[in-house]
Symmetry: C3
Subunit: 197 residues, 3 copies
């Protein structure tokens, strides 16, 4: 398999999850875009899903260079992992009005469960942690630029939501092994073979 | 094992999940029954759990003829799958007041995760998709007949809830392989043997 | 490995989950402490996390004597199980205002899924059931003593929350096998070896 195809799949996964998840955040009023004249895709400013797709691909590249995942993860695992991340993304859109302690503990626990299920190694933990730091920092930059903002009941972490690092943590964990995982082929029931290029 | 016993188990599973899930919907005010004089079981009109049990059995029959599940699923998997479906059912009862985008993306992502965990094949996807279409259509018929209705904040899909296809999708996916799964016997740790009649 | 080390780990797990979960309940107003002058740790009266840690250790001891878990569970499973229990704990803090039918069915279904995933045997079911009875009884005692109370919308089960047995059930199920599970070592990919003392 070429080295491009898995990366295109990973970008599109990130693009799609970012688009659908952000639609939830905008629909719930958790976030809002503030610049006029920016084209909109579903509920998002057009640049947002591209940014998420590139960020996921970046985390996936780092993970691939760290030889992640540490054990074979299959395309089916990618479907489950992506669905869990999108479910967590959508779930955060239901948390307005809940105390930050509740939302952070709840989302943090779910994120840890996703990481431990996907690839419980220190390397994937490192990718997840870096995502949990850089992602919210990038969103703080977006907020500071005036392009978007979080609702006043959901902006307690430097202008972004307190649970945001948990969402990035879970996404970073799965992203860390996804380039290899989308290439694995199931050769017979219960047996998998890695298709690392 | 006779061919009747697994079907009775599957019917009773559908009956029980329908009864307990519907109790949540009625308790939350998501749905209400409108015909007087119909006997009630827990919170449901008496016919409802029977209809769900028969619908689950129907989907299970179709799946069985499609040789599903594609890999052995055990009675323990049936317990987990049934619990996840009931949890999703109950969770939808907490979604009143949330935007349809949020509830559909969230429930849809959870439904896809359940499908991919249970039996990630096109055949089970087909059963799930048909369930996601026929189930809500049948409920629209119930609503049109005046026997029941959804709350005005949860009736955006032709009189039924927008997330309803997601719930039927997840239920249809698990139902597709359940006749075989309830017959599988664990013969030794980690090894399963199919008891397909 | 000594017999003390796994027990210390188990106590600390219970301590940490109790502390973080209770912080959610206090933050959401689901519970409140009523005695003045008791030192506080995070949001809890200081004795609470110790009580939870000891209770988890007690359930774990009973499970260990019943030769649980029935199949090898690894430290990674412990991380997943602990994260799921804490997620359920935190989730219950979002249930204020929801009908008891909804909260009990939803939490009960999630608890059964956790049990069936962790160790679907009658012995672990027994430990979980005993935890589901003794835990809420102990909290009723705390409430009766005047040391703490549940919010008036969450005290329908003899002064405690109706969903409380479900949370104890899930915690008891995982606790039942945790002393052995924290000692299992992964010797090679996909292979585990039990380190029962």
């Amino acid at each position: 398999m070429s080295t491009m195809r898995p990366r295109i799949i990973v970008f599109l996964l990130g693009f799609g999850i970012g688009l659908a998840g952000d639609a939830c955040h905008v629909a719930s009023g958790t976030t809002a875009y503030d610049w006029d004249g920016v084209p909109t895709l579903w509920n998002s400013a057009i640049w947002f899903p591209f940014a998420v797709g590139l960020a996921v691909l970046g985390a996936a590249e780092v993970g691939s260079r760290l030889d992640l995942p540490s054990r074979p993860r299959t395309p089916v695992d990618v479907v489950i992992g992506s669905a869990l991340i999108l479910a967590l993304y959508g779930f955060t859109a239901t948390l307005r009005g809940h105390d930050a302690t509740v939302s952070v503990v709840l989302c943090g626990a779910m994120a840890v469960a996703v990481w431990a299920w996907w690839d419980p190694t220190f390397r994937s933990l490192a990718v997840a942690m870096v995502a949990a730091i850089l992602g919210p920092l990038a969103e703080m930059g977006v907020v500071a630029s005036g392009a978007a903002h979080y609702a006043s009941d959901s902006d307690g972490l430097g202008g972004v939501a307190p649970w945001l690092p948990c969402l990035y943590f879970a996404a970073g964990a799965v992203a860390s092994g996804v380039i290899d995982a989308v290439q694995v082929r199931r050769v017979s029931t219960g047996e998998v073979v890695a298709g690392r290029e």
